[in-house]
């Protein structure tokens, strides 16, 4: 599966990230936890982007994962983060498996809008369901880790380490997938579906697979976000939430996996500071930043890394 070099890189990445649990101040640790949780969702979009599709509705899975974890936790009193992640992933896998084949036939803006519509339907349904809090949402208790019940800074650190590990694992799995045979087919389909079909591969299957991966990642991201925030509400599925994910995915580009998480962290930092220092014009600041990124980095952050790779390869 992974070569020795890759295993070392994975372990090294995790070690560096883990150091953050010691040196980072609480607020920064929380910010990174949220950024990485959203990064997981965006990684799913990046996977779809490799097949040429951009989902404007990943909030669907972000929200479904968050609510699954919350309802499961509140109904059965389970707070174990591993268990909650697995349950959400399974539920989102099922939803993704249901919608994936339906949506895999759509392309471009239609795929984007249809996925958006699905997530808005979830938004609307949850808003109506006052039994589970309606638009006000629900709270979820702090997570435990296989019986360990930390509080305060230890809780933050535990969560941070868990997310770091999850991100590294998910990143490695997705990296493996992107560069697998099936991943190459998706990349080819992005360019020329006709050719892929005439080589005898199913574009629909490639798109469905990407979509299902996106669903599971979205569910995991939502679960982490819910546990970190302690709260879920239907806004998780609102179109502006999904739009933000797309923005991170575009900022990262589809060429590099780590770039996704770096992009997510950058966006969180920009948003957090602009909100504090320009409380009246933070949207303006964010918009300008967005435009600047799109103009300056048309291929996303990943293109910086990838260009270098190609040059090195050529030498």
């Amino acid at each position: 599966m992974l070569g020795m070099n890759h295993l070392l890189a994975v372990a090294g990445t995790f070690a560096v990230m883990a150091a953050g649990a010691v040196i980072l101040p609480d607020w920064a640790m929380f910010l990174i936890v949220m950024a990485l949780a959203k990064g997981l969702v965006c990684l799913g979009i990046v996977g779809m982007m490799r097949g040429g599709l951009v989902s404007f509705g990943q909030g669907l899975y972000y929200c479904a994962g968050a609510y699954t974890a919350t309802l499961f936790a509140n109904s059965f009193g389970i707070t174990d983060i591993f268990l909650l992640c697995i349950v959400s992933a399974v539920v989102c896998l099922a939803i993704g498996g249901l919608f994936g084949p339906l949506l895999a036939g759509y392309r471009g803006i239609f795929f984007a809008m249809l996925s958006l519509a699905l997530s808005m339907v979830l938004y609307g349904s949850l808003s109506k369901l006052s039994v589970i809090g309606g638009t006000d949402g629900l709270n979820i208790a702090a997570p435990t880790f296989l019986g360990w019940e930390p509080e305060g800074r230890a809780l933050q650190s535990g969560l941070y380490l868990f997310v770091s590990a999850l991100v590294v694992a998910a990143g490695a799995v997705m990296w493996r997938y992107f560069h697998s045979e099936q991943g190459l087919i998706a990349l080819a389909a992005r360019d020329n579906e006709l050719r892929v079909e005439y080589l005898g591969a199913s574009v629909r299957k490639a798109m469905t697979l990407n979509y299902v991966f996106g669903a599971v990642l979205g569910g995991l991201g939502g679960t982490i976000a819910a546990l970190a925030l302690g709260h879920v509400d239907p806004e998780f599925a609102f179109w502006t939430t999904s739009g933000e994910f797309v923005f991170v995915a575009i900022l990262a580009g589809y060429l590099s996996v780590p770039a996704v998480f770096v992009a997510a962290i950058i966006l969180e930092l920009v948003r957090s500071f602009s909100n504090l220092y320009f409380p009246n014009t933070w949207q303006l600041a964010l918009g300008v930043f967005l435009l600047a990124v799109i103009v300056a980095l048309p291929g996303g952050l990943g293109s910086l890394v990838d260009r270098r790779r190609k040059r090195e390869g050529a030498q």
Binding site: N5, H6, A9, V10, G12, T13, V16, M17, A19, G20, I23, L24, P25, D26, W27, A28, F30, L31, M34, S127, K128, S130, G133, G134, T135, D136, G137, L138, N139, A142, E151, A225, L229, G230, H231, D233, E235, F236, F238, T241, V257, P258, A259, F261, V262, I265, I266, E268, L269, R271, S272, F273, N275, L276, P279, N280, W282, Q283, V305, R308
Partner: protein, 437 residues
């Protein structure tokens, strides 16, 4: 993958570099204020509230501007410094901003939240961080009915009061309501308000039938179809908890089609649109202000009049508009905080109080505000009750101002559930323990 490590190192370095904490100082009391500066709630609630807050903070810092017991400068002599954050962007963002305020900006207290969803999301974090927090505006009863929090206080009554007050007013003024309908925004606020109102009506007007319950989308702007449905159904009364632009648009469109001539309109939170609509708002609308706020406070008289008038006049002078409900709730929150700080300092020998000391002081506190006596009587001393009032709109052609007439004031214990009882149960059981004059 090597660059992965490099990028992550860089990010971590960046993050730590930004983390130098702001130094806490003993001669200032730093509060984080969160309220809507953008979006629909900015105009109706966020900006007027913050205008009122700024005004009060300036007056307190200067000292001697307000009648006793609020004549001492600042909070116990400490200068009040405020950082304001936009509440727009959803609960997710607010939890993050809350952590930033507490951990990065090291504020001494947080005062904020108009949106119920933020009020539900923030308290667990406040307790986790042991950060003293005042919820000054939001309405949902769930905050302290479903949970209890050590460091979180709500200095305004929850929304059940608004609709119980409204129903009681209708009954005591002899309105004949054999049928009614609702038009409420399609989110928790509107849904809960409608549930509270129908609950209260079921007790007070048990024969009245519900014609239709409409829930147009938040921010819909166009109410033509809903108005047609209401005209067609011909209910005796229409209840709406709409606020802001949604309420204004609804009133403009409804009055143009004569809805108010066929049916009695009752708006549970409608006072804040008076300054904008003025005579475009028809006479005879039954109107609440979520407490004895705005015009209802101005018309009340009594012991609190000097305090009310001082703030009223200063607000009018600075902003050229009457203060409506939002600044009143900000005032009661900040004045409560002032009382709590000073009480805590009395107890600890004059040091700047810790979060624990503040929480201990705030618990069960009561104080006077322009909106009446605020008592932290519910939720184990964390949830306020306050009196409320309802009036009817009447345009004064001489002053060219909208007035509220036939005002009836309700005691806090008449319109709020007693301690230990959920508002839904209180409504369902016919207001047990209610103390009305």
């Amino acid at each position: 993958m090597k660059q992965t490590i490099r990028t992550i190192c860089a990010t971590l370095a960046l993050a730590t570099g930004l983390s130098a904490p702001a130094m806490a100082q003993d001669d200032t009391f730093k509060i984080g204020v969160i309220t809507f500066l953008s979006g629909q709630a900015a105009e109706s609630f966020g900006v007027p509230a913050w205008n009122g807050g700024q005004l009060l903070i300036d007056m307190l810092n200067e000292g001697g501007k307000l009648p006793a017991p609020y004549d001492k400068p600042g909070f116990g002599g400490m200068k009040i410094e405020a950082i304001v954050v936009d509440e727009a962007g959803g609960a997710t963002k607010q939890v993050q901003e809350f952590r930033n305020l507490v951990q990065r900006e090291q504020v001494d207290a947080v005062v904020g939240y108009v949106s119920s969803s933020d009020c539900l999301a923030v308290p667990p974090v406040a307790d986790e961080l042991k950060a003293f927090t005042i919820l000054y505006d939001c309405g949902t009863p769930r905050v302290f009915e479903d949970n209890s929090f050590e460091y979180v206080f709500r200095t305004a009554a929850h929304a059940t009061m608004d609709n119980v007050g409204l129903a009681r007013y209708l009954k005591s003024r002899g309105f004949e309501v054999d049928s009614f309908a609702g038009l409420n925004q399609d989110y928790a606020w509107g849904q809960d308000s409608w549930a509270d109102f129908t609950g209260a009506m079921a007790q007070l007007y048990s024969d009245a039938t519900v014609k239709t319950a409409l829930f147009p989308k938040f921010g819909a702007g166009q109410y033509g179809t809903e108005i047609s449905a209401l005209l067609r159904e011909k209910p005796a009364l229409i209840h709406s908890s709409n606020w802001g632009g949604d309420l204004q648009s609804f009133l403009l469109q409804a009055t143009a089609r004569g809805l108010h001539k066929r049916t009695q309109l009752a708006l549970s939170a409608g006072d804040h649109v008076i300054p904008q609509l003025q005579d475009k708002m028809p006479d005879g609308i039954v109107l609440g202000a979520r407490g004895v706020n705005g015009l209802l406070a101005k018309a009340r008289g009594g012991d609190l009049q000097p305090l009310t008038d001082t703030l009223w006049d200063s607000y009018m002078e600075r902003y050229g508009v009457i203060p409506v409900q939002a600044p009143f709730r900000m005032w009661q929150g900040l004045l409560g905080l002032k009382m709590a700080v000073e009480k805590a300092m009395d107890d600890n020998g004059g040091k700047k109080p810790t979060d624990e000391e503040l929480a201990a002081a705030m618990k069960g506190l009561s104080w006077d505000a322009p909106s009446g006596r605020i008592e932290m009587a519910l939720g184990g001393g964390h949830q306020a009750i306050q009196p409320t009032a309802i009036g009817v709109t009447k345009w004064n052609n001489e002053t060219k101002m909208m007035e509220l007439v036939d005002i009836e004031y309700f005691d806090a214990r008449c319109v709020n559930p007693p301690e230990g009882m959920k508002s839904q149960d209180w409504l369902a059981q016919g207001f047990p323990g209610a103390q009305c004059d």
